[in-house]
Amino acid sequence: MTALVTQTDAAARSESRASVEVRLEDLRRQYGSVHALDGLNLTIGAGELVALLGPSGCGKTTALRLVAGLEDADGGRVVIGGRDVTLLPANRRDAGMVFQAYSLFPHMTARQNVAFGLRMRKVASRERLRRAGEMLELVGLAAQSDRYAHQLSGGQQQRVALARALAIRPSVLLLDEPLSALDAKVRSQLRDEIRRVQLEVGTTTLFVTHDQEEALAIADRVGVMRAGRLEQLAPPTTVYTQPATAFVAEFVGLTNRLSGVVRGGAVEVRGVRIPLIAAGGADGPAVALVRPEAVSLSAATDTATGPLLGTVIALAFLGASSRVTVDLGDAVVLVQIPTADAVAYPAGTRVRVALRLDPVLITRDDATVTP
């Protein structure tokens, strides 16, 4: 199932299929007084998969629909493969789209669905059925070719939708939360499957999701959106370890907000000097954003660890790792450690807390950002 094609293989193929670059330039779109897109700039490299990540209502779908031509821009340009398509109608844009759910034509079989785009392109009947069969094979559904949508599971329907979008060999593949209507297990399976297929065909892809885990797992680069703008665009690891803003830090993964004081290029939190991700900024009080895995625990008797003492108030088992909630008296910190270590700290245990010296981001606005 997860027979991943190697990167070089995919690169070779994508060259033969001539993937193109897709540029969104200063895109604007307003609904009444709502700025759904407020100057969005994003360049997706040829064959690249960019995940647009952000809370509900931040404009992800709008961005996708503008690229597809299903919605008109109030300002800005969409450039696909060097060609300005901003004024082209959807049916001449060459954009393959996978919707959230229920997009298959219910009166057509899987094969007829996949062949539909080729039919619109006047490909001869035999040829389009052959290519539809090929695409269904690519998504692992050759055996279900003659089924109708209602005879397929949700995950299978999305595979057919993917095959249908790719059958026309689009310049850009657009996916709008294609997994959000599925069960957790199917979701992660299909996520890997979509990535495998995308690498194999090499189509430039924009993948919209509000699920950070999904975005980090699937994308070459993740674009974090907030209120119609791009907050950060970077590879998954960078977004996680070096978030550009407090919003990104808090939306991608969990963070602890620990108050401290900025002094001489570092932030002092409870006697620990932690370096800053972004240097600069005046000295003074600030809130440090510390990842749960940058905090460690040891026995209360272990004085060598440091002076910080707390009491465990909850222990959540997450599989290989566990999340421990520790009350420091005036604040609560989340700590993520291997489960094997965590079992030593059941609720009620007094523990010593240490902060790792990974560079952190600080914020001075006290308003909590809730993803």
Binding site: A68, G69, L70, P89, A90, N91, R92, R93, A95, G96, M97, F99, Y102, S103, F105, P106, H107, F116, G117, R119, M120, R121, Y148, H150, R164, A165, I168
Partner: protein
């Protein structure tokens, strides 16, 4: 039976065992009294002669004036159904394209609910008051040099009935066709254009085939609806026997007696046969729609 020592369970289980079919008994009694029994009487009457069973009443159906009334009934039902279905479908489409819980939709659907049941003397009177020989629209048009009755007063003829019937057929169509339109998802139109299709392709390959069975089904429903309507026509038209329901009424109220009552039965039987055929077609089409849209 459970012993007394057992802890309190669901209090009625095991004690009051009412068979599940008991609940539907009233329904079956109702159906028997008002559907099966009358049908049996109609069938019995249709084949009854003065001296035992006979085909006299059935063959009486072939008399020219009766065939005429069947022709009129079919023309009336078919044209009011077609007009109602087309206009109603367009109206329903306009409603379905709007906001799902918008004011327009709520107003239109409740208005249609009321209007589709509007009929009989009230409806006839409304039309006489507006479009009758002295109706205010008629007079207003006359003042402006338009005489809609230059070739005779058609309101009280077949064409008048067609017009009056569309008045309840259109709203009925809106109500029965809306669910089919609601089953059409906006993604299908968008997917069609992403895949390179135009609006024409969408209607030709997607919306058309998906809506056609439902549309035809609704058309048949409208046909049956006007085919069996009686009160409106009776209130509007004095001349007896233009359409089959009026013909039945004639046969029942004429002074000739028993033989005519049996003619009424055979007329009714012929109507039942036509409605049964239409209903069978209707449910076949419904099952076709149900196969895809669920």
């Amino acid at each position: 039976m459970s012993s007394a020592a057992e802890p309190a369970g669901p209090p009625f289980r095991g004690r009051l065992r009412v068979p599940s079919w008991v609940g539907v008994v009233p329904f079956f009694v109702y159906v028997a009294a008002f559907l099966i029994l009358p049908t049996a009487i109609v069938v019995g009457g249709a084949f009854a002669g003065t001296h035992g069973p006979s085909l006299t009443n059935i063959s009486a159906l072939t008399q020219p004036y009766i065939l005429d009334s069947f022709l009129h009934s079919v023309v009336l039902s078919a044209s009011s159904a077609v007009i109602g279905a087309v206009v109603g479908a367009v109206l329903a489409y306009a409603v379905a394209s709007g906001a799902p819980n918008g004011v327009i939709r709520r107003v239109v659907t409740s208005a249609c609910g009321v209007l589709s049941q509007f009929g009989g003397v009230t409806l006839a009177f409304a039309f006489i008051a507006t479009l009758g020989g002295a109706g205010f629209i008629t007079l207003w048009l006359q003042e402006h040099g338009v005489n809609i009755y230059a070739n005779g007063v058609w309101l009280y003829q077949l064409s008048g009935l067609i017009l009056v019937y569309t008045y309840f057929q259109i709203p009925l169509m809106v109500i029965v066709f809306l669910p089919a339109l609601d089953g059409i998802r906006p993604q299908w139109r968008e997917a069609t254009s992403n895949l390179g299709g135009t609006s024409w392709h969408y209607w030709r390959h997607i919306a058309g085939p998906l809506l056609l069975p439902a549309f035809l089904g609704c058309l048949l429903l409208l046909f049956a609806n006007s085919f069996s309507a009686y009160a409106t026509a009776a209130a509007l038209i004095n001349q007896g026997g233009l359409i089959v329901p009026l013909q039945i009424s004639n046969a029942l109220s004429s002074e000739v007696g028993l033989a005519q009552a049996n003619l009424a039965s055979s007329l009714a039987l012929a109507m039942v046969v036509i409605v049964v055929v239409v209903t069978a077609l209707y449910s076949w089409l419904q099952s076709r729609t149900a196969r895809w849209v669920r």
